[in-house]
């Protein structure tokens, strides 16, 4: 499972159990990732078989509701579920995460620690709780640099000031010595981006990076992330519940529901030819600033499933308005697998969805019943 030598093409084993296939050429290749948390009430299956690939310089948007497993996925890639306090196993993780030819889940803790912060960095939602209140912003940024580089304090300070300047903090020399509480929300988020980028990471995971911010500040931060990605060529995973944000940022989109991917494809395909009823629901639920008041929103009925008792079969079945559409000889208790559509996106990214309805049926429903109402 750690032999990265033989390589095959992309999209080998989506949502398939690990079958001994060797690593792929993709920069990031997540295969059948499962993150389960044992609790008193039962096993919480936060992520239950997720696979995707991501190339450098590309942005993948992961969307889904709270509890769909978006953040747990990102923490899994960062290796933050590995060992809990006092060496207690916090989560049960299985699957494979290949980053640049290295498998992360089977790697030892030291190896992961070397990668974390240097090759994989993360921007969290709430900078106030992600930064240490006792230390100055500058110290925290330069520390992140010194952990991975053998440099003296002076050089680290220079690097931190350079980064603070790059993310648009005025007077970075002075601000280096400020504490996080002395920064405004937007500046704190900038400082955290500086901290994440101080080691030029190749993979940047942004978990709801702008959710706590006002729109005008959000626009500044999104712009900054986009510029920095162009400059550093990193791969970016953007986790958000805001479809507007992913439409602006993401090249590819992954829609999560109940711990699994229900649809994946280029942003263009997922927005214009969505193939999963849940994606339709998300698009119909969204009030739009770019259109005049439409009659009504088309919400998804019911609420998201409990991750302890994920419905058997398709997790979306209890909320699906098309649950009663005949689906041939498919049994309801069988989980639909992700299958690729015949058509491919402009850049060769295939369009995947997991639904028991036939592709023709879904194309018909979307074009005839849903799209005209949006």
């Amino acid at each position: 499972m750690t032999d990265p030598t033989t390589k095959t093409g992309e999209t080998g084993a989506l949502n398939q159990p690990y079958d001994g296939a060797p690593s792929s050429t993709a920069f990031l290749d997540v295969r059948d990732l499962k993150v389960h948390f044992p609790t008193e009430d039962g096993l919480v299956k936060s992520v239950d078989g997720l696979s995707f690939t991501l190339e450098k310089g590309r942005t993948l948007g992961i969307v889904g509701e709270s509890g769909s497993g978006k953040s747990v996925t990102s923490l899994g890639i960062m290796g933050l579920h590995r060992v809990g306090q006092y060496g207690r196993q916090r989560a049960r993780i299985s699957g494979e995460i290949w980053l640049d030819g290295k498998e992360l889940l089977s790697a030892d803790e030291d190896e992961v620690r070397r990668l974390r912060g240097r090759e994989i960095a993360m921007i969290f939602q709430d900078p106030l709780s992600a930064m240490h209140p006792y230390f100055t912003v500058g110290k925290q940024i330069s520390e992140a640099y010194r952990v991975h580089h053998k440099v003296d304090k002076k050089a680290a300070r220079k690097r931190a000031v350079e980064l603070l300047d790059r993310v648009g903090i005025p007077e970075p020399h002075k601000r280096f010595d400020s504490y996080p509480h002395e920064f405004s929300g937007g500046m704190r988020q900038r400082a955290m981006i500086a901290m994440a980028l101080v080691n030029n990471p190749e993979l940047l995971i942004a978990d709801e990076p702008t959710t706590a911010l006002d729109v005008t500040v959000q626009a500044q931060i999104l712009d900054l992330i986009r510029d920095l990605q162009k400059e550093f060529g990193s791969a970016v995973i953007m986790i958000t519940h805001d479809l507007g944000v992913v439409a602006e940022m993401a090249d590819e989109l992954l829609v999560m529901y109940g711990g699994r991917c229900v649809e994946r494809g280029t942003a263009e395909k997922v927005f214009y030819e969505p193939r999963h009823p849940y994606t339709w629901g998300l698009l119909g639920s969204m009030p739009r600033i770019d259109r005049e008041q439409t009659e009504r929103l088309i919400p998804v009925k019911g609420s998201p499933p409990s991750l302890i008792n994920i419905p058997s079969g398709c997790a979306f079945n209890p909320r699906c308005p098309y649950a009663d559409v005949p689906k041939g000889n498919v049994t309801r208790t069988v989980r639909p697998e992700l299958t690729a559509q015949d058509d491919t996106g402009q850049d060769g990214t295939r369009h995947w969805s997991a639904c028991h309805m036939s592709q023709e049926e879904r194309t018909r429903i979307w074009t005839e019943e849903i799209a005209p109402k949006l």
Binding site: G185, T216, V217, H241, A247, S285, R288
Partner: protein, 368 residues
């Protein structure tokens, strides 16, 4: 009855459309300053000017949307018009009656008519009370016995907001966020209020649940003839729910207009900037947003707001007059009021003024 109060010279009262008779709620020069105290004697050293002179009406049966960034005073405004906070100045009239300084007892009969829906469906319900107790509390407080008995009425309310009436004896923790918000709505509607003030009613909810609650509010308005003041930071939600919209910046209304007019032809530069900052859920638009305005920096502190027009420090159209003279909220078009010396989509109010140095650097226009 409060004509004597119309004294603030900086604010020209809007030329109201005469076809609407008496507004349900009329707010004139409303201010709220929170004192900042210093030292042992707690001497006042300044004030947070959270709300600093608001004038607006809420008409019967309409939805007034109030939008702005955090710290612009929109929530304080909501708490003032529901009289959960004591105003520092100005007047609030509800159905022609001055309620600005009514005491707790004086407000009690009015509490039936003005209700509030809160943002946090977790914090606004008492975890130790059952849903039945929560929704029946307004009846008990007001000594009202509904027709057919209390329990039947509460169950009717629960089914009205889309909850199972049999869940009468459950506790809030047994419900999801969206369901809790429905409980809050049922409680607010219990006494058949005339005005419902909703402070960020959907911002804590997931998109699919948010749509359910937005539709519910819409249905209830149709059914019960409610008047809403909906406070939110999300311009897309506000566009969807409102008939008229007030845009706030640093304690002031900078623009107040009909939905169509505001989103179609925004006049205040701040409104324009705010709208262009909202990410559009359409990947094909990504290439086509050159001309997008990106404001720099943060909102100034409401403790010492900028002189003149409060937006002049971040405005790319600012001129000398903006720094010295506060623009009045004027109706430049029927149903469209704006407080700006240099509005967009309307004639310039001070055309020959010299630009402020640095104003043109106040924004960047994204070109990619």
């Amino acid at each position: 009855m409060t004509d004597t109060k119309k004294t603030d010279p900086a604010v020209t009262l809007p030329a109201q459309a005469t076809d609407s008779p008496e507004p349900l709620l009329k707010v004139t020069g409303l201010t709220k300053h929170f004192p900042i105290t210093k030292g042992l004697l707690r001497r006042q050293s300044g004030a947070v000017k959270a709300v600093d002179g608001l004038d607006f009406d809420v008409r019967r049966g309409e939805t007034l949307g109030v939008v702005g960034e955090s710290g612009c005073g929109k929530s304080t405004m909501g708490r003032l018009i529901t009289r959960l906070l004591e105003p520092t100045g100005g007047t609030i009239e509800f159905e022609g009656k001055d309620i600005t300084h009514l005491g707790v007892a004086g407000m009690r009969p009015l509490r039936r008519d003005v209700q509030m829906i809160f943002q946090d469906p977790y914090g606004s319900l008492n975890p130790r009370h059952t849903v039945g107790t929560i929704v029946s509390a307004p009846f008990k407080l007001q000594n009202v016995t509904p027709e057919g008995g209390l329990k039947a009425e509460v169950q009717r309310l629960l089914s009205l907001v889309g909850l199972n009436p049999e869940h009468y004896n459950r506790y809030p923790h047994e419900f999801s966020g969206g369901q809790r918000q429905r409980i809050g709505i049922a409680r607010a509607l219990a006494l058949k209020p005339k005005l419902v003030v909703a402070d960020e009613p959907v911002s804590a909810l997931d998109v699919s649940i948010q749509a359910q609650v937005v539709n519910l509010l819409d249905d209830l308005q149709q059914e019960l003839g409610l008047t809403y003041v909906i406070i939110a930071h999300d311009l897309s939600v506000i566009r969807h729910v409102s008939d008229r919209i007030a845009v706030m910046y640093l304690g002031k209304i900078v623009e107040l207009a009909d939905n169509k007019s505001l989103y179609g032809e925004p006049m205040h530069p701040y409104t324009t900037a705010l709208m262009s900052a909202v990410p559009v859920p359409d990947p094909r638009r990504r290439g086509a947003k050159s001309g997008r305005i990106l404001l720099k920096g943060d909102v100034p502190s409401p403790i010492s707001p900028p002189s003149g027009c409060r937006f002049h420090t971040r405005c790319w159209k600012a001129t000398q007059i903006c720094a010295t003279q506060e623009p009045p909220l004027l109706a430049l078009k029927a149903g469209h009021q704006v407080a700006c010396h240099h509005p967009e989509n309307a004639p310039d109010q001070a055309p020959d003024d010299k630009p402020l140095p640095g104003a043109s650097d106040a924004v960047t226009t994204a070109t990619d």
